[in-house]
């Protein structure tokens, strides 16, 4: 709080005038520093609408220290001339004077003096004029008297260049009465306190207004990762649709379940070193259901179940190779095989959302690992129409209209299902998509590295909104 006396004096002055007054004028007339008046204005402003103060700024010209000296004693060149006697003066002596150097060159260029270099006893200076007009001083005197406007801009700038004049900006307040103007000040409370509530004193007090323009304090809280928030929503959608979650907690899978059981031939490019991560330790899987394995071998190499097969030499060694699963469909295959071993077939709806791995070239939308979302329905007599229908319902829940671009769908081949032992007539429809792709679309992220992995900016995690896929 500024000096109370000064604040009250200021209020009295404001009361007396009609239009308002300038803080600079108040300072001058009170003979106090302008900053003190500014302090009083600010503390009055904090009290609410007692006064209104509008900031103003004005520019004016002022003499510099050197400028003041010249206004008083004359320009350096004029002083050089006046200090030279009729018989002249040695140059070395002139140079010893404070104004000597600057004054000498200016006086020379004005042709007010001459230099006799060959003079006996060293170079000597003589006056060439008796009377002179000291224009520089005259101009500075004008400015000092507050008549700077009589000078041309060019002249002022020239003096500014000689560091004799400077242009200064003066800030002041134009002070007028506010809507709650009063010459006496009551102190405003900042906050409601326990005591005020207990004593009821809040009824008499005035409270300082809040600044509703400001932001609240940033809370110190924990956050869920946006991709995981989207995963939660997808799980929710599947559960709402009656799908049971598959156990996908097995990143390492044999080629048998990942490829062979899905009727993917052993020479398929997806099984190439360039696309799939193979394991060196543990390099091979053991323990396959032997009779099923034999049926898989046969349908690949010889055909059967209505298929011609691929007619190649199917090798157990290829099937045994351990890999990081390239899709969660490997788990779907295990689940469907398990289903086929039941005494009596029961229809199922399965889903999973988990990590899969591809040894591919990395770019803005591809990483070596991503999350695959998969849905599977197995029942007697499912049709293409059912697949279209269920996809429509699923993608409707996502709020995605053009779903064709984010996923794949289809019916599993008989060469996959019949060797498992599923009854003829059971069809299995399935679809899959990545979790990252729809999340990137949803949150407008272009580079997958900004969403997944340790290089993610935590601020993005802190700032991410709740995930409602359908809105």
């Amino acid at each position: 709080m500024a000096d109370t006396g000064l604040v009250e004096t200021l209020l009295q002055r404001v009361e007396k005038v009609d239009g308002g007054l300038d803080s600079q004028d108040v300072a001058t007339s009170l003979g106090v520093d302008h900053q003190a008046i500014v302090g009083a204005v600010k503390s009055l402003q904090a009290l609410g609408d007692v006064i209104s103060a509008e900031q103003r700024s004005s520019k004016h010209w002022e003499l510099t220290g050197e400028g003041c000296e010249i206004a008083e004693q004359g320009s350096h060149e004029a002083r050089v001339v006046s200090s030279i006697p009729e018989e002249g003066m040695p140059q070395s002596q002139l140079m010893k004077l404070a104004f000597g150097k600057v004054g000498f060159s200016k006086a020379m260029s004005n042709k007010w003096i001459r230099l006799d270099k060959g003079h006996e006893g060293g170079p000597r200076i003589f006056k060439t004029v008796e009377r002179l007009e000291d224009l520089v001083r005259d101009k500075l005197l004008l400015v000092q008297k507050g008549q700077a406007s009589e000078l041309e801009e060019k002249e002022k700038n020239e003096l500014k260049k000689r560091k004799l004049l400077s242009e200064v900006t003066v800030k002041s307040y134009w002070i007028t009465k506010g809507s709650c103007f009063s010459t006496t000040i009551t102190k405003q409370e900042t906050e409601l306190t326990t005591e005020m509530i207990a004593s009821g004193s809040w009824k008499e007090k005035k409270f300082k207004p809040y600044n509703f323009e400001a932001m609240g304090v940033a809370l110190d809280c924990g956050h869920l990762h946006p991709l995981m928030k989207v995963r939660t929503q997808f799980r929710q959608i599947f559960l709402e649709m009656g799908f049971t979650e598959m156990p996908t907690n097995n990143f390492i899978e044999s080629s048998f379940w990942n490829f062979d059981s899905l009727f993917q031939p052993q020479q398929h490019p997806a099984r190439d070193q360039h696309d799939t991560f193979f394991l060196s330790d543990p390099a091979q899987a053991h323990e396959f259901p032997q009779d099923y394995l034999e049926r898989v071998r046969k349908v690949h190499s010889e055909g059967g179940f209505g298929s011609q097969g691929y007619k190649y030499d199917w090798k157990i060694e290829e099937a045994q190779k351990n890999i990081l699963r390239t899709h969660t469909t490997a788990v779907s295959a295990r689940m469907l095989y398990k289903l086929a071993q039941q005494e009596k077939f029961t229809p199922v709806k399965y889903f999973s959302i988990d990590r899969v791995f591809r040894n591919e070239t990395l770019d803005a939308t591809h990483l070596a690992e991503f999350h695959q979302i998969e849905g599977v329905v197995a029942d007697f007599g499912l049709t293409l129409g059912d697949l279209m229908g269920i996809l429509h319902q699923f993608f409707n829940k996502l709020g995605l209209k053009k779903w064709v671009e984010v996923g794949n769908s289809g019916m599993f081949r008989p060469e996959m299902l019949l060797p498992m032992g599923l009854p003829e007539g059971v069809t299995v429809i399935a679809w899959g998509l990545s979790l990252e792709r729809p999340t990137m679309i949803k949150y407008g992220i272009n580079n997958i590295r900004e969403l997944v992995g340790h290089k993610v900016n935590l601020q993005m995690v802190y700032d991410s909104p709740v995930c409602r896929l359908d809105s």
């Binding site: 990762h225 907690n249 070193q273 060196s280 209505g306 293409l384 229908g389 992995g453």
Partner: protein
Amino acid sequence: MPTVSVKRDLLFHALGRTYTDEEFDELCFEFGLELDEITSEKDIISREQGDTKAEGASDVILYKIDVPANRYDLLCLEGLVRGLQVFKMEAPRYRRVSPASSEPQRLVITKETTAVRPHAVAAVLRNITFTQERYDSFIELQEKLHQNVCRKRTLVAIGTHDLDTISGPFTYTAKPPGDIRFKPLNQAKEYTAQELMSLYKTDSHLRHYLHIIEDEAVYPVIYDSNGIVLSMPPIINGDHSKISLNTKNVFIECTATDLTKAKIVLDMMVTMFFQATDLSVPGTVSPHHHPAVCFLLWENILEPTGQYVHSDYPHSICNPQPFFGISESTEHIAQLLTKMCLRSEVMSDGEQIEVEIPPTRSDVIHACDIMEDAAMAYGFNNIPRTTPRTYTIANQLPLNKLSELLRQDLAAAGFTEALTFALCSQEDIADKLLKNISETRACRISNPKTAEFQVARTTLLSGLLKTVAANRKMPLPLRLFEISDVVLKDESKDVGARNNRRLCAVYYNKSPGFEVIHGLMDRVMQLLEIKPGQGNGYHIQAADDSTFFPGRCAEIFACGKSIGRLGVLHPDVINRFELTMPCSALDIDIEHFL
């Protein structure tokens, strides 16, 4: 999926009309293809090598189209046009014919080839007329087939020759590399096979194929009756018989380790270029010529394994009704299939359809493939959507249910969820945590492209510490957690490894904050309804662990079992993760709480 790149205007010319990019994209979708990219040679060079290099390159617009991996018949312009035009044209029928005035050609396969590349099939295309574009497409198709179905020439290698420069019968045999000597394609002098292998070591294209036969005792080779070398598959052809724009009759040989694939490849080469044959030459066309049906002068040669007859197409019988879920007449479905170039007739029972599969469609191996074509012709979007009546009760996986619930409460406890990679370097899980790799039970990847993918993680801690390191500029303290799987070797599993669900958290600040991470552990136990105490409760006791600062690590026991550790990290761990401040961590196995 393989990508085929075709010149847009050439494609439109062949299709007989132009499309906007959107219309063409739509057309592709109807046929299960995808218009992947619209570009030009200039664009490609400028993107890969910069604008200056691209100056003067062709700016003819190219369409890059993704085709399904098993549709080898769509790998060239000719095939794509046929695939996209099926509705408009009557299915071409292909027939093997004998030459008008001479004996069919023969290719004799000797038993020496069994050791290295045992199969070969061959055909002759007669009266062909190459334009520059068709010639380019012919060469490109070979290359596409080599890269895809031929699996980079390992399964099948194709050689094409000007028949008029050589004379049959031809012999496919195998010889020691020192005994093979010929002038290879586009070389000025003769080389032995040995010399060729070292010559091509530095060839940017051919060096990728050398390994296929390099270490064999004998190399495959094809001679004509005068001892001229046609080719040394799968590496290089002879210069003598090379084809040119003026070639009229082409001899095509496919040598292989997989006979089925060899036949598919030969069928593709022959059927894709039937349009190039001149049907007006007498003797080219069979007397049974019907104006709407194209016949092809095409000899198949196979010795000694027997006759390979293409004119007998496989017939497939299928019953379409259950598949569609619509009540379309069998006649209509037969018509749709015929439109798709699969000639179909309704059988006498009125329910089944007999379908003729042309040699271009090697992908059709089951009735379901035919039904897919019928659905395509019907239009996927015209199939009425139905809801399956399948009644099921949903269940969550208990492990995931627990993880989901804990995640919510860890965030409520003020910790932020990180999402880190399951693959990492060996250094991340061993050296940087002051552990020996042998004690980690880590699974190793045999073919990582970079060190980031050497092993599957055995702990979540390194990922969290890397996340902290990448976020050092964020206000302190940093409180992070992750609940996810690590992978451990486990002999008891069929694949020799299993996942393990872990909960890991770190607290990073100017002071170690052991009490904070300890408090978090207490909170987790509270959430899991485990009370402090020995026996059925939980307690911690001092433990030695090289990752942690000596005397600042404790083992956590719950219900009598060790479930994890907590403590202040060792300063060397902090340094190795490029961190500067103290850090405490919690790492537990939550599978105990199922």
